[in-house]
């Protein structure tokens, strides 16, 4: 929990479900991935293993094992995770996650169910998932519905009596549509509801206080106990005449905390040299701050709800990335159909418009420079199909 910006834990089910298509079961494959994130004063790394296997013609099972090992620094004044602030304390965390999914194919309909369990020293999450997908119109259209239910327990290190619940519900609907012989459309809508202890038990907000030497005091943040968000996205993928693909997408998000966000993404995929495939991508994201967010409140307990999480601030995020894939020969291994080695790198920059960098000691609180996060995201993985 204390890692604040650690990787969202539910990688597993997303990975397990992302390949689901109605009418066809996902390929039998195994992926072994090593991931590393470094930026903002923290390093997160670990493995992710995905195994998928069909049982007969109508059932497919998959399992995912995922680990985050986190090393970082946290500001002892505000609880914020920032790089090497004076007075920062170093911490280490370890999180383990297991996920399973079963897909059942019946005619042109695929039914899926899954479960994820995630544990770390101060956060426990259990998530269940159900979905159904249907092919129609000569397999030009695939429609899917999904429902997710999660039950979490928030803990606090050093306080064994602290155990606050969080309940999560998500509804998803998706459509994949063949538009032309070279053009695919994907559309997704998702509504999410969360209820319970939604803030971080360690992080503090700051407020003006002339009695303090640095000009501001701190108090624990306080969030609303409910949050409802709606997201809608459109994605187009086009096959170019020289065997390459262009991928563009847009997403609009809004929620009851006042956040409105826009996401745009563009990617280009180019096979080359018989066994290689290269992908380049760019992503742009921008959001307005939550209604109860402030970098510096005017006084203690200024409002009912108080937040200084930079995830809730106004900012722009830009990332550039590339992936190189090499398909290695598998003809000496009789049970393998295909194998790839993949190296992926993304560079992320987040520029905040109302979150200030407290490493600069300002004469007047609120005049510090705005914070900028730079991060590198590295992935190396091997995939085999059998």
């Amino acid at each position: 929990m204390r890692h604040l910006i650690a990787i969202r834990l539910a990688v597993a089910l997303g990975a397990l479900c992302a390949t689901s298509r109605a009418g066809v079961l996902p390929d039998d494959r195994a992926d072994a991935l090593f991931h590393r994130y470094e930026g903002g004063g923290i390093q997160i790394q670990g493995p992710s293993i995905l195994l998928r296997k069909k049982l007969g013609d109508s059932v497919s099972l998959s399992y995912n094992y995922y680990v985050d090992s986190i090393t970082g620094r946290v500001d002892t004044v505000t609880g914020a995770s920032v790089d090497a602030v004076s007075g920062a304390s170093e911490y280490q965390e370890h999180r383990t996650q297991h996920g399973i999914t079963a897909d059942l194919l019946h005619g042109k309909t695929t039914y899926s169910a899954g479960y994820i369990g995630s544990q770390e020293n101060d956060y426990d999450a259990k998530t269940g998932y159900l979905s159904v997908s249907q092919d129609m119109f000569g397999d030009l259209t695939t429609i899917s519905f999904g429902y997710t239910y999660g039950k979490d327990t928030v803990g606090q290190r050093g306080n064994p009596d602290f155990a606050e619940p969080v309940t999560r519900r998500n509804w998803q609907v998706g459509v994949t549509q063949v538009l032309t012989r070279k053009l695919l459309l994907g559309a997704n809508f998702e509504t999410s509801e969360s209820e319970g202890f939604l803030n971080n038990p360690y992080r503090k907000v700051r407020y003006l206080d002339a009695g303090e030497a640095r000009g501001y005091g701190t108090q624990l943040e306080r969030y609303p106990h409910t949050r409802t968000g709606n997201a809608g996205s459109l994605q187009l993928k086009y096959y170019l005449p020289w065997r390459a693909a262009l991928d563009g997408s847009y997403r609009l998000y809004s929620d009851t905390w006042g956040i409105i966000a826009h996401t745009g993404r563009l990617a280009y995929v180019q096979p080359a040299f018989r066994r290689w495939t290269f992908e380049g991508r760019a992503r742009y994201y921008t959001q307005d701050h939550a209604d109860f967010y402030s970098d510096l409140f005017p006084y203690q307990n200024a409002f009912n709800f108080l937040g200084r999480d930079r995830e809730l601030a106004t900012f722009t995020s830009v990332s550039l990335g590339a992936t190189a894939t090499w398909e290695f020969p598998v003809n000496r291994v009789s049970f393998l159909q295909k194998g790839t080695l993949n190296l992926s790198w993304d560079r992320l920059r987040i520029s905040y418009d109302d979150y200030r960098d407290l490493r600069t000691i300002a004469v007047t609180p609120g005049s510090e420079p705005f914070y900028t996060l730079d991060a590198d995201i590295l992935q190396f993985f091997i995939s085999v199909w059998y």
């Binding site: 834990l9 539910a10 979490d152 809508f189 509801e193 065997r243 992503r283 987040i350």
Partner: protein, 83 residues
């Protein structure tokens, strides 16, 4: 425990349902305009929306854990202590 639902949520749910069921109307009268033998390009692995689900899900969640927006990425997430 019953979760409180806003009017906005109900509207979105209704919209999602309506959008998803719209193509069901008049099923029998629609002829596939891209025949199976014309889908060679669409079947190419480079046209997959998620050719490497482990990788794309990981990247999605790295980004989402630093941003306020979430969802509608085509994959499903669970809970975490990353707030």
């Amino acid at each position: 425990m019953t979760m409180p639902r806003t009017r906005s949520t109900r509207t979105w749910l209704a919209l999602m349902l309506a959008t998803a069921t719209l193509p069901l109307t008049g099923c029998g009268s629609i002829e596939p305009w891209v025949k199976p033998y014309e889908r060679e390009h669409l079947a190419d692995p480079i046209m997959s929306f998620a050719p490497n689900p482990v990788s794309s899900s990981y990247l999605d969640h790295v980004l989402e854990s630093r941003e306020g927006a979430r969802g509608a990425t085509g994959s499903v997430g669970g809970g975490c202590g990353c707030n």
